[in-house]
């Protein structure tokens, strides 16, 4: 065992100097660098490569991954996702995907999920869909479920997207972001009753119900149930007023403005939206949209 270590020393020294071409931007990288200097090991190098990638230092990460492979050549599958991220940060999606192929073939669901995202980013939606379908069959997470449904939407297959959102949401405890995505698709499909039922699964969790009641009103209006829509909007406004009295946040103000607009109190809604636009750069776009939507009603 002594001979190989002696051979490796120049490699490690060279690699270490390459890896520290930048000042470590992260205290954890500094600590790992000290530990690696004292006891070089593949797991520590892989851990440092992941930190380099978090900070956007692809070259340093690649250097660490190469050193890790020199020390422990056997874990290429386990490191494939990190190599793919190196290539992705360099803007070379083909190489990223190629890096993942063997790991996917070897059964890595993590590699499969990563490849699905890379293929979706590259616009290769059919291939991405295949990966998403394979991935969610083995590991269902909210992010993967969203990716799966969004890919179907981008492929112009909303009915299938709705179905996967529905199935995934049910398996993930009615996860709110999946239900929201499903409701949007149901509205496109003009399946209003299903949209209303989906909304109701969330309303029971919400203590401030105004955003869900506004959505309910919008769906009812789309369904031509105008009186029911007005009732929902009035309920939304009452709840928005209650919440705003309790919590004077800029978002509460904007939700109140949206409710005011929904019940036709346009001038008040616009005044509130103007205040939101002045107070919050983050909500300015939504406030501006409200102002534009109510422009004709002035």
């Amino acid at each position: 065992m002594i001979r190989p270590l002696i051979v490796l020393v120049p490699v490690l020294v060279l690699g270490a100097s390459t890896a520290l071409a930048h000042d470590p931007p992260n205290h954890d990288i500094e600590e790992l660098t000290e530990r690696i200097a004292a006891h070089p090991s593949a797991p520590l190098l892989v851990e440092r490569a992941e930190l380099w990638l978090q900070e956007g230092f692809a070259d340093e990460a690649a250097s660490d991954l190469r050193m890790a492979a020199t020390l422990e050549p056997g874990d290429a599958i386990g490191r494939a996702v990190l190599w793919a991220e190196v290539w992705r940060q360099r803007g070379r999606l083909d190489e990223a995907e190629a890096e993942l192929d063997p790991a996917v073939a070897a059964g890595s669901v993590e590699a499969l999920a990563a490849r699905a995202r890379i293929r979706a980013d590259a616009g290769r939606l059919t291939d991405a869909l295949a990966d998403y379908e394979a991935a969610v069959a083995r590991l269902l997470t909210v992010d993967l479920a969203l990716g799966h449904g969004r890919t179907l939407e981008r492929l112009g297959r909303p009915a299938e997207a709705e179905a996967v959102y529905a199935v995934h949401a049910r398996r993930l405890g009615n996860a709110t972001v999946l239900v929201q995505a499903r409701i949007q698709v149901l509205r496109q499909l003009r399946r209003h009753d299903d949209a209303l039922r989906a909304i109701d699964t969330q309303v029971r969790h919400a203590r401030a119900k105004s955003t869900w009641l506004l959505l309910r009103g919008a769906v009812l209006a789309e369904a031509g149930r105008t009186e029911d829509a007005v009732r929902a909007y009035l309920a939304a406004l009452a709840d928005a007023e209650r919440v705003y009295r309790r919590r004077r946040s800029v978002a509460s103000r904007l939700i109140r403005a949206e409710a005011l607009a929904a019940v036709g109190r346009t001038a008040e809604a616009r005044a509130e939206a103007e205040r939101v636009r002045a107070a919050s750069p983050q909500l300015a776009a939504r406030a501006t949209a409200l102002l534009a939507a109510t422009e004709a009603s002035r």
Partner: protein, 739 residues
């Protein structure tokens, strides 16, 4: 990427035989899950509302050595007692440690206490000191819930590290207090948020389906829960996507839109602002949480945000909108005061957010501690306690030595309403001491009437018929004993603008320091022993102010530095007390050994195992300027004169230095009349023509504390202390004008 580490962790998990005492999870107003690990094949929880009547039983689900019993259909805000068993039968009674109280009704103004810890998981002495400092400070009012902001099991979050450094370290606390966790990067070495697997996810049972309040996240990696009038949000800054179009932040937006709580408190591991062992200007996870999560949280009016990761304590000014990188303060500080009720005044939480880095729970601290958003930073271990009471949150940093080194209050007023901020109810005020009143009222309120009741609001007497609406008034609490005191503040022109406190207590106990650090002592530093009665008498020795000693250069009074050293040096002073001492706390600074006496009785001895003889050196040393604290038996004190004496020993004839200082804190009890004496009696009130009564106790309008009657001590060195800093959570007694 983490496959190898995860494999090792799973192996460790599968082979671990370590035991975990019962701990609480997912506590709500109507349910709780009790989790424990042992070698039994099955588990069952017996429970009931009395410790000796465990009449209900729930069979636990068992996976490996871990049992999880979900208790449902419980009553709101009710104390239950339980026993975790192997299913063979219920014991006659629950262990004293095994009980819990269900959460208050969601939205209620029930007061509660929260403990916040981060980066604690070393399993070392500093971590234990932090825990014990908290327990010492809270006394009989332990936390209702426990938040951990991550890094609870160094170095890799393995099963055994969790067992030893978290569940073992906090065992007695976790049996009765629900811990809500956020995952740290060290747990992330062996746990994976994508698969929700690894020791972190094995250990915790978290609400992914909205069962504890908030919207369903669909994952245990991030979630929310409600407790009384607070909505808590927990994010995963380490291992879940942090982009604005990722599932976590989309859920955050929906969750906050659905929250109607008075307060929003959020926490995760990587802090958005810090200059501790990490730098929030440089590190991507911190930058992304600041740039992506904070705009959402602030737009919904988040009030208090905790992080860890950076090993330091930092607390911000009230801030808003500082999302840029690097962070600058200009234009983003909403209130540049200290946020203290007894300082520049509390922050109005409607206007901004306070950020706290609590990465000081046990790991070594470091950093430049100069973040521009921070009002206060400290490089020492500790933890945070915050108390929620209706429209007020009071936060304190409890350093590992028990000192409260930072304190702030957040208040949340309601538009067009008058809000009493202090007292709120539940406080214990010393009779005869300054009683600070604080309120928020609309600008068009010109004057307010201030009233006091001593019987829970049945009868009221005026403290001030009309005082300007400047938000504060300091009066002297009447010399009455009651647990039903209340104050009420009303707009003199609009009686609908009124608010009154809950019941608070007026007591004869006073907390004070008859001997402060830096006090004046008689000393004997000569080569011969003093007379045998040296620690029961005073007079005849030279005097000097502490710190006394030699060799370090920081002495106020330099003592004889003989060669060889005099083995023992003596100190003493007398204090006079006019009441019974119910509690006493001693803090000493010493080098190398010390013994302390009260009226000749030894109450402390450190490194004096070789005896107290004059010519005997110390039996050990804790280094330069070592500190120690002890609670001592109050019965050693007497009403009247008391002699406090100490001897300090050198380590050897050639040791270079010797140091001594001492602080004594006492709680003294005096007899007081009951509340009947306070209204219309001889307790300081006088009838008024309109049939109401007026308290004629003095009004301390300049806020300087006024009359010190009844302090229980006559020594000139005595100094009034903010009682809340000490033993019983007394209200801060002195108010200063807001700048």
């Amino acid at each position: 990427m983490r496959a190898a580490i995860l494999t090792v962790a799973l192996l460790l998990s599968a082979t671990a035989t370590a035991q975990r005492a019962p701990y609480l999870q997912r506590l709500t107003p109507t349910e709780v899950t009790i989790v424990w690990r042992d070698g039994n094949a099955a588990g069952e929880v017996c429970y009931g509302t009395a410790p000796n009547a465990l009449t209900e039983r729930v069979v636990a689900s068992t996976s490996g050595s871990q049992h999880e019993a979900r208790l449902t259909g419980l009553n709101v805000l009710t104390e239950y007692f339980y026993a975790a068993t192997d299913g063979s039968g219920c014991p006659a009674a629950a262990a004293a440690t095994d009980h819990f109280t269900t959460a208050p009704e969601v939205g209620s103004d029930t007061a509660f206490r929260v403990w916040v810890v981060g980066d604690s998981g070393t399993g070392g002495s500093r971590q234990a000191e932090v825990r014990d400092a908290m327990l010492g400070w809270v006394g009989a009012q332990p936390p209702d819930i426990y938040l951990h902001v991550g890094d609870m099991a160094y170095a890799d979050g393995t099963t055994n590290e969790f067992t030893d450094n978290f569940f073992g370290m906090y065992s007695d606390i976790l049996r009765s207090t629900n811990c809500w966790p956020a995952m740290g990067n060290h747990e992330g070495r062996t746990a994976d948020s994508g698969t929700e697997s690894g020791p972190y996810y094995d250990a915790y049972v978290l609400p992914r389906d909205g069962v504890a309040g908030g919207m369903p996240s669909g994952t245990e990696a991030y979630y929310s829960f409600d407790h009384a009038n607070v909505h808590f949000v927990v994010l995963d800054s380490h291992d879940s996507p942090r982009s604005v179009d990722g599932a976590m932040l989309q859920w955050l937006d929906a969750d906050l839109a659905a929250a109607d709580a008075t307060w929003i408190v959020a926490f995760w591991h990587h802090p958005p602002y810090t200059k501790g062992s990490h730098d929030s200007d440089n590190e991507s996870q911190l930058v992304q949480m600041r740039e992506n999560a904070l705009p959402i949280l602030e737009s919904y009016g988040a009030d208090l945000i905790f992080g860890g990761h950076s090993h330091i304590y930092e607390r911000s000014f009230l801030a808003r909108g500082a999302f840029d990188t690097p962070t600058t303060a200009a234009g983003y500080l909403v209130d540049t005061g200290d946020g203290r009720i007894d300082g520049d005044g509390p922050y109005d939480a409607n206007d901004g957010t306070v950020y706290v880095v609590a990465g000081h729970g046990g790991a070594g601290v470091s950093g430049s501690a100069d973040h521009p958003l921070m009002y206060f930073s400290e490089l020492d271990q500790g933890s945070v306690i915050f108390d929620v009471s209706g429209p007020t949150i009071t936060l304190r940093n409890i350093r590992r030595d028990g000192e409260v080194t930072d304190e702030l209050t957040l208040v949340k007023g309601v538009e067009d309403a008058l809000l009493l901020v202090s007292p709120l109810g539940g406080e214990t005020i010393a009779a005869g001491a300054p009683l600070p009143l604080r309120w928020l009222a609309p600008d068009d309120t010109a004057n307010v009437r201030v009233e006091l009741s001593l019987d829970g609001g049945d009868h009221w007497g005026e403290l001030e018929a009309s005082t300007p609406n400047d938000g504060e008034l300091v009066v002297t609490a009447p010399e009455v004993r009651t647990d039903e005191a209340r104050v009420r503040v009303t707009d003199t022109a609009d009686a609908t603008r009124t608010d009154e406190s809950g019941n608070f207590s007026l007591v004869g106990t006073r907390t004070f320091e008859p001997i402060a650090f830096g006090g004046r002592w008689e000393y004997h530093d000569g080569p011969t022993a003093p007379t045998a009665d040296w620690n029961t008498t005073t007079g005849g020795w030279p005097e000097g102010n502490a710190e006394l000693g030699y060799g370090d250069g920081d002495e106020v009074t330099e003592l004889l530095d003989a060669d060889p050293n005099v083995p023992t040096v003596y100190f003493r002073q007398s204090i006079a007390l006019d009441g019974e001492v119910t509690r006493a706390e001693l803090d000493v600074l010493y080098d190398d050994a010390i013994a302390v006496f009260v009226n000749g009785s030894q109450v402390l001895g450190i490194h004096v195992d070789d005896g107290l003889d004059h010519d005997t050196f110390s039996s050990g040393s804790d280094g330069d300027d070592a500190r120690a604290s002890r609670t001592i038996d109050g019965s050693v004190f007497t009403t009247g004169e008391n002699v406090i004496a100490a001897l300090v020993k050198q380590a050897s004839g050639s040791s270079s230095d010797l140091s001594f200082d001492l602080r004594l804190t006492l709680v003294v009890e005096r007899d007081l009349p009951g509340p009947d004496a306070g209204i219309g009696g001889d307790g300081g009130t006088a009838p008024r023509p309109d049939g109401s009564t007026r308290f004629d106790g003095s009004t301390d309008t300049d806020g300087d504390g006024g009359d010190d009657g009844g302090c229980g001590c006559t020594t000139l060195a005595a100094r009034e202390l903010p009682g809340a800093l000490l033993l019983f959570g007394l209200l801060v007694l002195a108010l200063r004008r807001r700048r």
